[in-house]
């Protein structure tokens, strides 16, 4: 599932650690979400969407697969 978490975070001027702290998860988890290695739970996905003032559907695109780095 491709997502726009990295792009949204960069626009907001946040580091992965800062975003993780705001959402109660680790920096590694934010990195894993951004690279598509980890698909977050529904509560965390909603939390991310709310944090960036967008919707889950816009933040996560289920029709596109992220290439793992």
């Amino acid at each position: 599932v491709k997502n726009l978490v990295r792009e949204s975070r960069t626009v907001a001027g946040l580091s992965q650690a800062e975003l993780g702290e705001a959402l109660g998860v680790s920096r590694q988890t934010i990195n894993a979400i951004e690279t598509g290695k980890y698909l977050p739970s529904l509560p965390l996905a909603i939390g991310l969407a709310r944090y960036f003032d967008t919707t889950v559907e816009l933040l996560f695109d289920p029709d596109t697969k992220t290439r793992r780095k």
């Binding site: 998860v25 680790s26 590694q28 988890t29 980890y38 977050p40 739970s41």
Partner: protein, 131 residues
């Protein structure tokens, strides 16, 4: 600076290992095998110290070992436990098969395999009801 909760949660796993090691050591000591009891107690202490030291590091391994983990780290822990269980079951199965082929009773390995299968099926039905 580490929070008090994190400091406390860092102790859970090492204390569990220490208690397990010392408990097993006491049982072995009660059986009269002093050397083995000392070895098990030492292994428990060393294991507890090692895990405590590792849990103080940042990153996923430290978080999982400190029992202060987020959802992804909890998944890592569950998967690691599953792999450990499968490996242990496979080892027990191989040893049991080898002992059966040699005409032995394959104890306690065969019983451990049966216990693992029974536990898995019980857990499966129990979890199925909950989710």
């Amino acid at each position: 600076m580490m929070h008090v909760h994190q400091q406390r949660s860092r102790l859970y796993v090492p204390l569990g290992v220490l208690a397990g090691g010392l408990g097993l050591s006491a049982c072995v000591l009660a059986g009269g095998v002093v050397g083995a009891a000392q070895g098990i107690a030492l292994a428990g202490v060393v294991g507890a110290v090692l895990i405590y030291a590792l849990s103080g590091r940042g990153g996923d391994v430290g978080a999982v070992l400190s029992a202060d983990r987020d959802e992804r780290q909890a998944q890592l822990d569950i998967r690691a436990r599953a792999i450990t269980s499968v490996v242990l079951l496979a080892v027990c199965g191989v040893i049991a098969a080898r002992e059966f082929l040699q005409g032995g009773r394959a104890q306690p390995y065969f019983d451990l395999c049966l216990l693992a299968i029974a536990t898995y099926l019980t857990a499966l039905f129990w979890l199925k009801r909950r989710t």
